[in-house]
């Protein structure tokens, strides 16, 4: 994620994923190792017959190390389920990491396309074209009544989950974030924090996604998410930011510069604290309060300070205490 794209001051990224299953087979979670391996080989060969093949690299989960899988998960390229490294599961990734084809996840095929900023329509066009290409080679299970059949009935129909990652520090600071949650719930949208399900959102990042997948076209689902939720929330966040600038400039500046102070001087820092402080730093850059640190640096730090990336960088296995120490060092070397 390079921090570009429409509304990227608030919308960090857009993501669409499609759930698909091959006709005539039990779902992945019900299949035994042998059945999954056979299907995986079939899916791999079919995918590599499409014109997507030149841009894809393929990984079989059972042949990767736990650290590699954790890195892929930190990059949002595989799910937690695939990160378990079970037999018969794989992923095909495009070189720019915008496309991930997860194989034998909860469903046989999960197609995921990522883009920075708010680009759901473009992302849908893109994923729809990929879906076309795959469907020429793979016969999916489909019912005229229920649409694409999925292992979990909450995905049935379009099989499509659309999400946007929003950065909402000003709504959080001004105590209005609960309003966003309530409104989203009323519109049958799911809101969750950036990392971990149900835990306290880290660094004021919130993922907003559709819960309903049946009875609406793909375009309607996207249109409703954007016009009824994303655009109003972006507007509220902007108003809240302006109000903070107008009424609480000194307090805001203090928070932002303290964040820079800790990030550039800490000797031990947890990933939670890092996310919290980077979130403030990101706000400071967006509001032009910080001018000598780039958004790109902040985005990179979000990714590279996570446990697996840190261990990969320092080329050693680190326990939590060692990570906190090296994380602090890594940040000091990147922000001066």
């Amino acid at each position: 994620m390079d921090g570009s794209g429409p509304l990227s001051d608030i919308v960090v990224s857009s993501r669409i994923r499609l759930a698909r299953n091959v006709s005539g087979f039990v779902f992945s979670t019900q299949a035994d190792d042998q059945q999954r391996e056979q299907l995986l080989r079939y899916l791999h060969d079919q995918i590599m017959e499409t014109e997507l093949k030149d841009d894809l690299w393929y990984l079989e989960m059972s042949q990767t190390t736990p650290l590699e899988r954790l890195m892929l998960a930190e990059r949002h390229l595989i799910s937690g389920r695939l990160a378990e490294g079970n037999t018969g599961c794989g992923v095909a990734l495009s070189h720019d990491e915008s496309l991930a084809l997860m194989l034998n996840e909860e469903d046989h095929v999960r197609v995921q396309v990522l883009a920075s900023g708010l680009q759901l329509e473009e992302t849908y066009e893109n994923i729809n074209r990929i879906d076309d290409l795959l469907e020429e080679k793979i016969e999916y299970t489909f019912s005229p009544q229920y649409g694409y059949l999925t292992a979990c009935p909450t995905n049935v129909g379009t099989g499509m989950r659309v999400s946007v990652m929003l950065h909402l520090p000003a709504l959080k600071m001004s105590g209005q974030i609960e309003k966003v949650f309530r409104a989203a719930k009323e519109m049958r949208l799911a809101v969750r924090g950036l990392y971990g399900e149900g835990t306290e959102p880290i660094g004021d990042f919130y993922q907003l996604s559709n819960q309903t997948t049946l009875g609406k076209t793909e375009q309607q689902i996207i249109e409703q998410l954007v016009s009824m939720a994303v655009e109003p929330i972006v507007e509220y966040e902007r108003q809240a930011r302006n109000k903070l600038l107008k009424d609480k400039m000194a307090a805001l500046d203090d928070k932002i510069h303290r964040a820079v102070g800790i990030l550039t001087h800490a000797r031990l820092i947890s990933s939670e604290e890092t996310s919290y402080l980077l979130s403030l730093l990101r706000l400071g850059i967006q509001l032009d309060r910080i001018k000598d640190i780039s958004l790109r640096t902040v985005n990179e730090l979000f990714l590279l300070t996570q446990p697996a990336h840190l261990q990969h960088h320092y080329k050693q296995t680190l326990d939590a205490d060692q990570r906190d120490e090296l994380r602090a060092r890594f940040i000091r070397e990147h922000i001066r």
Binding site: N21, V22, S23, G24, F25, V26, F27, T29, Q30, Q35, Q38, L39, Y42, E106, N128, D131, D132, E135, E136, K137, I138, E139, Y140, T141, F142, S143, P144, Q145, Y146, G147, Y148, L149, A151, C152, P153, T154, V156, G157, T158, M160, R188, Q211, T212, T213, L214, G215, K216, T217, E218
Partner: protein
């Protein structure tokens, strides 16, 4: 207090709030039944128990429903949240439709994208893979009649 309609002693008191407007009604039992406000007050205990047992028996029947293709039961699905195979949508039609309507804002029909199947030769390898897995299963279950049929289908598919 008197009934608002017939001046008998009022025993049914109803407070309704519609669009923020509060209205109160005080009625005797007879008028309340006529107005459709209350149902028959005394349901014999036998009826209640019979109804309860019938609904338990029905839910027991639903829980034991089993998909003939993947052998998953409705109970297992409810416990784990994941279906076993696409045929479950047929095998569990009744309870699943209710569940889908509840989780999908009342919707029960797909209106989005449909596959652009080309069929035919493209999917021959898939058909073979499917038939071979079915054959393995039939052999495991010692269903030799099915195994013979599947073997014939496989050789027919291969010669195409």
């Amino acid at each position: 207090m008197q009934c608002q309609l017939c001046n008998k002693h009022a025993t049914v008191h109803l407070t309704e709030i519609v669009n923020g407007q509060k209205t109160e009604k005080h009625l005797c039992e007879e008028c309340a039944i006529k107005e459709g406000v209350t149902v028959k007050a005394h349901v014999p205990i036998n009826d209640l128990l019979n109804n309860l047992m019938a609904s338990q028996k029905e839910s027991q029947q639903i829980e034991d429903m089993t998909c003939p293709e993947c052998d998953i039961t409705w109970r297992k699905f409810r416990k784990e949240g994941l279906l076993g195979c696409p045929h479950d949508y047929v095998a569990f039609e009744e309870p699943l439709r209710k569940l889908i309507e509840r989780t999908q804002e009342g919707a029960s029909t797909h209106v989005g994208r449909a596959p652009r199947h080309t069929g035919g030769k493209h999917f021959q390898r898939l058909t073979l893979l499917r038939l071979r897995q079915e054959l393995q299963q039939a052999i495991n279950q010692e269903d030799y009649e099915a195994a013979v049929r599947l073997r014939d289908e496989i050789s027919k598919c291969e010669s195409n």
